[in-house]
């Protein structure tokens, strides 16, 4: 059983000050989530129970059925939120099981699962291979990419169709995987909010409101960070940044090539990307 925000190594000692601060923020966020977000469906449930009682007392069968439906829907939503929170709370612990992840291979597999959804959306994904491998938890990293793809499909589409480009960049301190879409973009004032738990900036969009929060948690559990670069009308680039020390030997790149690729790793326009893996 994972305990939210509490993460210690096998000797029972906290890892670093940064890690403790992160845990503290996570606990704070968790408490806020429980007190606000989980209470929200509860208010709906009890509110419509009150209306149900009124409907039953007055013999309003249609009103009663409507209230029951709202109650059922909110109970399901609450259950999904609890599942999501449990999932989120496990990230820190699962992340300790790391291995060399061949990101290019994982993305190819993941994109196969997305083939139908991408085709339905008329979306094209261009993966700028080869991508460096990284020392990370494979399941969590795939989940992070999964959530970013899903997010791009939900929010990134424009009248010109959706183009997603995945590439990388190596800086002096970090290895970045970059997922760029050509969608409507996100105003700077909202950049931090997109990663918050149960935050849905578009009220009409479907989803749990946890996808990007999980991405954020996955990266911080790897001592990395996620950020977004975007402005309205200019698409959005989500950047998964790992510490440079997490670069792992790649099946496709010999060690000295990593730096050569780094020098070549520019970030071309998503709009100019060719049909890649997702177009299959």
């Amino acid at each position: 059983m994972c305990t939210p925000g509490v993460e210690a190594d096998e000797h029972g000692t906290d890892r670093t000050t940064a890690s403790r601060e992160r845990q503290s923020r996570e606990v704070e966020q968790f408490v806020y989530t429980v007190s606000h977000d989980l209470k929200s469906p509860l208010v709906t449930i009890t509110g419509f129970l009150g209306l149900l009682e009124q409907s039953l007392a007055s013999g309003d069968r249609a009103g009663a059925e409507r209230a029951v439906e709202r109650i059922r829907r909110s109970a399901v939503r609450m259950s999904e939120m609890i599942d999501g929170l449990l999932r989120l709370s496990c990230v820190g612990q699962v992340a300790r099981e790391t291995t060399t992840v061949q990101v290019g291979d994982e993305l190819r597999e993941l994109l196969c699962l997305y083939e139908q959804r991408l085709a339905d959306a008329g979306a094209v994904v261009d993966v700028a291979e080869p991508l460096p491998a990284v020392l990370a938890n494979r399941t969590l990293l795939v989940e992070a990419f999964d959530n970013l793809l899903s997010n791009a499909l939900k929010h990134g589409a424009t009248a010109d169709g959706l183009r997603i480009r995945i590439d990388h960049r190596l800086t002096d301190h970090e290895l970045e995987y970059r997922v760029r879409d050509n969608g409507p973009g996100i105003p700077e004032a909202l950049h931090a909010r997109v990663f918050r738990t149960f935050e849905r900036l578009d009220p009409d969009s479907e989803g749990s409101g946890l996808g990007l929060a999980i991405v954020d948690r996955v990266l911080s559990a790897h001592d990395g960070r996620v950020r977004v670069e975007s402005s309205p009308g200019q698409g959005a680039t989500f950047i998964l940044a790992f510490p440079r020390s997490a670069v792992a030997p790649s099946r496709h790149l010999v060690a000295q090539d990593v730096d050569l690729v780094a020098q070549d790793a520019r970030v071309p326009d998503a709009g100019t990307g060719n049909a890649g893996a997702g177009g299959r």
């Binding site: 007190s35 977000d37 929200s40 509110g47 209306l51 909110s74 009220p203």
Partner: protein, 148 residues
């Protein structure tokens, strides 16, 4: 008797319905206008875009966690606008977080109410709130005279 025009900014359709249901039973309530996100709420109050002919409300019921502009941003924009600053803003949210309450009061909120889970209390709170702002409280001379 019908004196209170309410602008409700609330993204949760179920909560909006519960609030409207409770408010709608109050004889004091003249009208309820509901908008589901903060950005639209501000546009409405400022009379922008499709809201040029809008009637300013006597009280704003404001959820705290909203898509677009969140409750804090909406509150700040209302209180920073001379035409709007006199309209009482009542935050109505599920968050009882002390940080949120402090931030709201720092930004000149007029009242901060936490939605009770118990429906009888919820209804009673809405009734008392409308009684207070509709009858007991003396409001500045905003409203019908100013619609621009």
């Amino acid at each position: 008797m019908h004196t209170l025009r309410v602008l409700l900014i609330e993204d949760d359709p179920d909560h909006a319905e519960l609030i409207e249901h409770a408010l709608g039973r109050q004889p004091l309530i003249a009208s309820i206008r509901h908008l589901a996100d903060g950005t639209e709420g501000v546009r409405y109050l400022k009379g922008e875009g499709p809201y040029r002919e809008r009637e300013l409300p006597d009280v704003v019921l404001l959820d705290w966690k909203l898509p677009g502009k969140d409750g804090l941003q909406v509150l700040r924009e209302i209180k920073a606008d001379d035409r709007l600053a006199g309209i009482p803003v009542v935050v109505l949210t599920t968050s009882g977080s002390d940080a949120d309450v402090r931030q709201a009061y720092k930004s000149h909120v007029n009242s901060y109410l936490v939605k009770p889970v118990d429906y009888a209390q919820f209804k009673a709170m809405i009734e008392e709130m409308s009684h207070y702002w509709g009858e007991l409280n003396r409001r500045p001379g905003l409203g019908a005279a100013e619609t621009t």
